[in-house]
Symmetry: none
Subunit: 204 residues, 4 copies
DNA sequence: AATGAATGAGATTTCATTCAT
DNA sequence: CATGAATGAAATCTCATTCAT
C-alpha cells in the first residue's frame, strides 16, 4: 500500500510568472498530443525549452504540476459554463461546450490519469460535482414544470442531475472514441441529442 | 522518433502454456487493482511469482502482453454479448453486461491506455466496431418497425447504432466516475435507462 | 515524520556472486577512505567499475547494500571475537581486536550513519548486544571470583558488562580521534589499559 | 578533485544579526533531531522560516554555517567547563558536563560529520586539544601528589590526560549507544565511574 | 537585507529489454 | 523453459550555489 503524499503547500514561483505559464502550457499540449503518460518533468522541460530542475522549482512535485494544469483548465471551464448557462440558449451552449474537442479531450486525459494519481482524482471529483450541480440548476430552470419521473424512460421527464450525467457520458465517449478512430454510431448519437435539443427549444 | 520494432523471429511460448495464462491473469488483476500505469514487466512478474525475463519469453514486448490481455478479455466479451443478444430479454441483458463492474472497468483502463499505446488503440477500435454492429443488429430486431428518426429527439426512434453508442458512453461514465467517488446523477441516470428498458419491453 | 521502509526481502544476485563481492568491497573502501557520506550507488558503481543500475540489481535499495556490508563485517568480527575469547590471552586478544584500526573505523562509520539510517541503527544494536554478552561471559571466566562491585571505583571489581562498555568506548574514541589528528591523552590512555591488562594477567 | 574555494570578498551578514542566530539555532535543532545528514541550506532555511539564499547571505558555504554552529557550541562548552573546573567539586562537575545529553549528542554529530568535512574535523581537533589540556590541569590539581604511573593499571594513578581521554570516550559512547537503543553495560559503566568519583572525593 | 529565478551536478530508482547459459 | 546478469534510458527529486534586483 503506497502512502498518499499530500501535495506540498509550499508556494513557489509567483502565480503570475511567465515561466510558470510556459510550463503549464507545455504540459497541457503534451497531454493532448501524446497522452498523459508522456508527461514527465523531463519531457515538459524539454517541450518548454527549460531545464528540468526549474520545473521543480515552480512545482515541487509532479502532482503539484498536474494539479495546477487541471485547476487552470477546470476553472476556465467553470467560467465558460457560467457564460453558457446564462446565455439565451443554455441547453445548446452546454452541449456545444461538452463536445468541444480540446477541452473535453483534456478532461478525459485527466480522468484516465486519476486512477494512479489519487490527488488528481479527488480534485476531479470536486469539480465534477460542481459542474453537475450548476447544470442541474439550469436544467430545472429551462425544462421547468414538466413532471419529473426518471422511471418513465422519457428523456423529457428525466431528472436534471441524470440528464447532466447522460450528456457528460455521451460527450466524453464521443471524444475518446474519435481519438481512437472509432466513428460507428457517432453521427446518429449526435443527431439524436441535437434532435432532442431542438424539440426542447421548440417546446414540442 | 521511436523505432518501430519488427515482429521478431524469436521463439515465443505456446498459446496453451499454463504460465502464459498466469501472466495474463496477473496483468489483468494489476490493471484492475492499481490501474494500467502500475503494469510493467517487473510488476507483472512479481505478482505472478515469476522472473521478468520469463515474461519476455512469452511476450517479447510489453505491447504484446497487453494486447493478449485485451484480446482475451474482448473475446470473452464477444461471447457474453452473443449470449445476451440471443436471450429472450436482449436489451436488458445488454444493459446488464454494459454495467458489469469488472469487465467495464477493464475496458475503461484499456481505453485510457490507448492514447500512448497505439497498437492497443487500434485493436480497441476494431473490437468496438464489432460490438456496436452486433448490438445494432439486435436493436433493429427488437425495436423494429418504429420509424427511425434520429432528429426526433425521442429515444424510441433513435437509430440503433446511436443507441448502442449512448448506452456505451453512459455505462462507461458510470463506472469511471464511481471509481473517483463521484455519484451525482448516477441513480437518476440508471433509473432513466431502466425506465426506458421497461417501456420498450412493455411496448408502452 | 518519514515512513520507515523495510529493507526489501527480495533476494537478488547469488550470495556467492563475484560482482556482489566487488560491490561490497568498494563500498567498504569508500566508507573508510571518504566517510560514509561519500557512499552512493553512483560512487560505489564508479569505484567498482560497474554501471549504477547493476548495483541496484544486487541491492534494490541503498539500505540493502549498506546492511549487507555491515553484516559481512560484523559477522567477521563475531568470528574473530570468538577466536580471541578462546585464546589463552583472551583479555589481551580482545583489546587488540578493539583497537584494530580498520575494523573499528568501519564500525564507527556505521554508528555515525545509524542516526539517519534507522535500519542500520537497529542492526547495530542487535550486534552490539551480542558482542557485549560474549565479552561479558569471557570476563566472568577470566576475572572470576573477585567480588564485583561497580560502586567501588576499582577497575578490578567492575562488573563485566560495564568493563566491556568501557573498553568499547575508549577504543572507539581512540580510533575516531586519531582520524581527526587528535592525539592528546592517547598514549596515556593506551598505557593505562595495557597496565591494567598486565596486572590482571600477573594476578597482582 | 574539488576546487578549493577562496574566502570570497562577498558581503556577509553581521555577527550580531538576529537572523544569523535564528539560522544557527535552526541548524543545531535539526542536527539534534534528525542527525547531521538532514542539514542542508534548504532544510535549515525551511526550519528557520527563511529562504535558502538568505542563509547563503550569512554563510556563503555550508561549511561556513556548520563551523559557526560548532564554534558557538564549543565556546559555550569552554565556558561551562571553566565554571565546572572552578567549582568545589570539579571532578563531579566535569563528569556531569560530559554526560549532558544535548551537548554531547551535538558533539558526537559533529565528530561523525568530520569525516567528510575536513574543515570541521580540523576545528574539532583544535577544540578537543584545548578541552583536554584544561581538564588535565584540573586533574593534576585535584588528584595531585599520588605517584602517576599509567602502566600500573590503577585508575587513581592514571596520568591526567589519559583520564580525560577515558572519560570523554565513555561518555560519548554512552550517548551514542543510547540513541541506538543500546543499554547493555551502561548502568554498570556509569556506576563504576561514579564509584571512582566518590572514592577520589572521600580520599579512600 | 532579502528574495525570485535559475542551474549544473548528482542521488535513487525503475523500466524494458537482451543475452548467455 | 527458465533464469542470472547486465545495460541504456529515463523519472523524480534534492542540493549548493549564483545572480540580478
Amino acid at each position: 500500500m503506497k502512502e498518499i503524499k499530500l501535495a506540498s503547500s509550499r508556494r513557489v514561483g509567483a502565480e503570475s510568472s511567465a515561466t510558470r505559464t510556459v510550463i503549464l502550457d507545455a504540459t497541457e499540449r503534451l497531454m493532448l498530443e501524446e497522452g498523459y503518460a508522456a508527461v514527465s518533468t523531463r519531457s515538459v522541460a524539454g517541450r518548454a525549452g527549460l531545464k528540468a530542475p526549474l520545473v521543480h522549482y515552480y512545482f515541487p512535485t509532479t502532482d503539484d504540476m498536474l494539479l495546477a494544469v487541471y485547476r487552470r483548465s477546470a476553472d476556465q471551464n467553470l467560467e465558460r459554463l457560467s457564460g453558457a448557462l446564462a446565455s439565451d440558449q443554455p441547453l445548446r451552449a452546454l452541449w456545444s461546450l461538452s463536445t468541444d474537442q480540446t477541452r473535453t479531450a483534456l478532461a478525459v486525459e485527466f480522468m484516465a490519469m486519476a486512477n494512479h494519481r489519487k490527488l488528481i482524482g479527488a480534485e476531479i471529483a470536486r469539480y465534477v460535482e460542481r459542474f453537475r450541480a450548476m447544470q442541474a440548476e439550469m436544467l430545472v430552470r429551462v425544462l421547468g414544470d414538466g413532471v419529473v419521473d426518471a422511471r418513465a424512460g422519457d428523456l423529457k421527464r428525466c431528472p436534471p442531475a441524470g440528464l447532466s450525467m447522460l450528456l457528460a457520458g455521451v460527450s466524453r465517449a464521443l471524444i475518446m472514441e474519435a481519438s481512437l478512430g472509432i466513428s460507428a454510431g457517432h453521427a446518429e448519437a449526435i443527431a439524436f441529442v441535437e434532435g432532442w435539443l431542438r424539440s426542447v427549444e421548440t417546446g414540442v
